[in-house]
């Protein structure tokens, strides 16, 4: 149990890097939700745009993460601070599952329910906030859950451009050929992913419409 002894000895650093990791994932997921959910709603209501938007998000997803970090490095304001850059890159990756699930969730609402609501005189915003979103919320959250889990893993690579996070241990361990150090980064990252998965999953079930 060398790993745990190592982590115990370096507990303050483990904690600091975990918090940094959380910050990267948290900010980027939040940003991706702020962009992705309205975008998903918009394309669900205007089917003309769904193909181009989903295709763009898909293409972003296919860019290898290390390459994306590299591409963004020379961008002036972004490149100045590597954590900014990491948050942006993680946001881009988190977009696809969030947009896609929002789109699917809203489109999945029974058309009869929407028609009844509109026919009864709900305004478009009442229809959205009282009918469509509550009925789509668990599908949207399952997209968020996928996004978070992906981000926790991807954020380890952010250490390659100096953005910090648990990836630091992993890269350092690789350089030192020391499994203990690698695991000191990998284990907390795995735990983070599991906790986030469980947490959002719990929320998803709580908000599930009957």
């Amino acid at each position: 149990m060398n790993v745990f002894r190592f982590m115990w000895h370096n507990q303050s650093q483990v904690l600091a890097l975990t918090l940094e990791h959380l910050r990267l994932v948290g900010f980027s997921t939040l940003l991706a939700m702020l962009i992705g959910i309205p975008l998903g709603i918009a394309i669900a209501h205007r089917p003309r745009f769904n193909k181009p938007v989903l295709a763009s998000a898909n293409i972003i997803q296919t860019i290898p993460s290390l390459a994306l970090f590299g591409f963004l490095l020379p961008v002036p304001w972004l490149g100045a601070r590597s954590d900014r850059l990491a948050i942006l890159a993680l946001t881009l990756y988190a977009l696809l599952p969030i947009i896609r699930n929002t789109f699917t969730g809203i489109r999945g609402v029974d058309p009869a329910v929407v028609e009844a609501g509109r026919g009864m005189g709900l305004t478009e915003s009442q229809l959205l906030f009282q009918v469509e979103l509550p009925l789509a919320v668990s599908v949207i959250l399952s997209g968020v859950r996928v996004a978070v889990v992906i981000s926790v893993g991807l954020a380890t690579i952010a250490a390659a451009i100096g953005a910090g996070g648990l990836g630091e241990f992993i890269f350092r361990g690789l350089a030192m050929v020391d499994n203990r150090v690698i695991l000191a980064g990998a284990i907390p990252a795995a735990i983070l992913a599991l906790v986030a998965d469980f947490g959002v999953g719990w929320l998803e079930r709580r908000l599930q419409p009957r």
């Binding site: 329910v113 929407v114 028609e115 009844a116 009864m120 005189g121 305004t123 009918v131 419409p209 009957r210």
Partner: protein, 259 residues
Amino acid sequence: MQADAAIPVIEFRDVSYRVGDTQILSGFNLQVQSGETLVLLGRSGSGKTTSLKLVNRLLTPTSGDVRVKGASPEGEGDVIRLRRSIGYVIQDVGLFPHFTIERNIGLVPRIEGWPAEHIRTRVLELLQTVGLSADIAGRYPHQLSGGQRQRVGVARALAADPEILLMDEPFGALDPLTRDELQREFLLLQQRLHKTVVFVTHDLREALRLGSRIALMESGRLVTVLSPAEFLRSTDPLAAAYVRAFGEGLESAANRGTS
């Protein structure tokens, strides 16, 4: 507001509706008088549902004018107000699955800002009106049977006491016995409430039973408007065809019994 009796509650004036190159409704003229149940009868694709949706502006006419109480709505606010003053019942019911029955029925009153107590009383009153027990108020739509759900649909449409009721094959998806029951109750209800009803169906039996007048439609045109009694005696080929098909159904069943 003078001469109320002279103004039809709903009036189609030379209405046509087109989607792309497809003409769905053309040269449609019809007046619906206060307190009557006008049935739009026709096969699928004849334009009945489209006509109905033009009344509450779920669709906008390509040309012509649909007037409700003498006016046609201008702008978003008008349309919303119009819809809230018209009860709307559809075949798929469209109850909000995440709302309790009480909230489903009380939705329009709630967004119209009625006080909570008032809504509650109204909901209980309506449940009784449509023949449901008060203790289903707290349940969710998926916990009800098809017949109960459609009763809730009717109660929801009546919630804000609209003068007009639009019903799009409301009993079409129900089993024959439940349908019969709901039709009977609809008649009783209509005797008490005297709403102006536009009722869409493809079922002649339902049309004869519920309608004070029957508007027969075919390929986007109004063929004729007749009372149920006139309809049965009509020499119009389409009307006669309906009556014949209806009669033959009963006859052949009876014959099969004897042979």
